[in-house]
Amino acid sequence: MSENSGWRRKQIEMAVATTAAYGRYLPANFLHAPLKITNQSSSPPPPLYISTNPSDVNPRQLQDLYALCNHSCHRFPNLDSDGRVEPIDITKLRIALSHSPVVVSVFTKPEFANNFSTRTEVGAKSSGIGGDWIQRVMPVMPVMPDNGQLVGFGRAVSDLGLTASIYDVMVIPSLQGRGIGRRIVQRIIRMLTSKGVYDISALCSDKERLFFKACGFGEDILGSTTMMYTGTSSYSDADQMVIYAGRKLLLVPPLRE
């Protein structure tokens, strides 16, 4: 241990004693060493709790996360004038969750997630007088799903035998770029391979392709073509039933004799 940390330890011990004596009050002039002002690139890593337990996910919180990430469950979503997707149907979300064998959720303390829209703010907040060092040394509540804020998510659908598909991987914008998304995907993959499933697919838009590439995904080496039902068929019928999926109008194939 360096000399520096020994001095710091003494400071900490005094702080603990002082706090015990004065309750939560700490005199402002108590701290002698000014804390380093952190800049954007070295803002403190948020404490994270990664869960694979589906019951840790509160559907309402998840609905908010979809909105924060501007993520839709429809592959071709309706966008409003601001480019925002429509809110996700919470009933369908519950159903989807209950039928996703793998659900990964990431939580952090609310102050690391909710209050900041940019990483600069996170850095600035923690580097003021007092900062977060007191949280680091005092016996603190670890972040748990019930006291934390949902900041990341991912799920997979699988037949638990041969194949799986990953959907809806997302991290709130203020915490993107820290490898959280990659950890979510890695956790999903680990859970699938532990069940013997190795054929894992992910549908990617242009933007998502780079992300999944960094997670170890690639194009199908057998050269299969990804196809989606978009309902435009060469047979059209006057009385055909249709359903909407986002902004796509899908024709329901008619019953044949």
Binding site: R75, I95, D159, Y198, A202, L203, D206, S224, T225, M241
Partner: protein, 250 residues
């Protein structure tokens, strides 16, 4: 005819040989082949079959109906959903063969596919073998399994029906938004009659009636046009499927 590459035995998780083995299994589920072409990268049967056999028997022991030659695999119905879709079963085609035998082709979406019949059908279209336990699990956990059986009733005789699996398609889904169609196959001797089209259309219908709007599949190049004619679009708006390839180093 299997053109053999020797693949490693069934790997434990995180083995470096994972990539090759997973590739041979993966390739089959994903591709919509119709049995027209043999894969040129087929694998030999995995060596640890005894280990798989044990788990296979355990897994189907509970589902086995003793006096029935067919294994009944339950469709993944869930109690909490409001609308229970009753599985469909109906006669798609009926014709009388020259020798007086009546042949019916029955469509069913109840998932009553015998895993041995399926394995035999996969052999017939030239797909490499996949472990039976995995096949069984995949069928059991699919959202919908559509099957075509041919029933031949001999003229005049009582209850002398010959039932054969001649086609199948299945889809996995989260029951709400997404579905992926896997393993579409039709017995080569029954191809060219529109049976495959019927299978897919019925599958799509089932999914759309449930408001499941993202329906995806990964098509081999020979069948892309077939699916286009059914309303599928390749790489719509640049959306592509990517697959996980474990790195061999670290």
């Amino acid at each position: 005819m299997i053109i053999g590459n020797v693949f490693s035995p069934f790997p434990p998780p995180a083995a470096a040989t994972l990539c090759q083995f997973h590739h041979s299994i993966a390739s089959v589920s994903r591709r919509q082949l119709w049995g027209l072409h043999n894969l040129n990268n087929t694998g030999s049967r995995n060596a640890n079959i005894s280990r798989l056999k044990a788990s296979f028997w355990e897994s189907i022991r509970s589902g086995f109906i003793k006096n029935n030659t067919m294994q009944v695999i339950e469709s993944p119905s869930t109690i909490q959903e409001e609308v229970e879709m009753l599985p469909d079963e109906f006669v798609l085609v009926e014709k009388t063969l020259p020798d007086g035998v009546v042949e019916q082709i029955i469509f069913s979406s109840g998932g009553d596919v015998d895993v041995y019949d399926l394995q035999a059908l996969c052999d017939k279209v030239g797909w490499p073998r996949r472990p039976l336990s995995k096949l069984a699990a995949a069928l059991r956990n699919s959202y919908t399994v559509a099957a075509l059986h041919s029933i031949r009733k001999s003229a005049g005789e009582e209850r002398n029906d010959e039932k054969k699996l001649i086609g199948m398609a299945r889809a996995t889904s989260d029951h709400a938004f997404n579905a992926t169609i896997w393993d579409v196959l039709v017995d080569p001797s029954y191809q060219g009659q529109g049976l495959g089209k019927a299978l897919i259309e019925k599958l799509i219908r089932t999914l759309l009636q449930r408001d499941i709007g993202n329906i995806t599949l990964f098509a081999d190049s020979q069948v892309v046009e077939f699916y286009q004619n059914l309303g599928f679009e390749p790489d719509p708006e640049g959306i592509k499927g990517m697959f996980w390839y474990p790195r061999l180093t670290g």
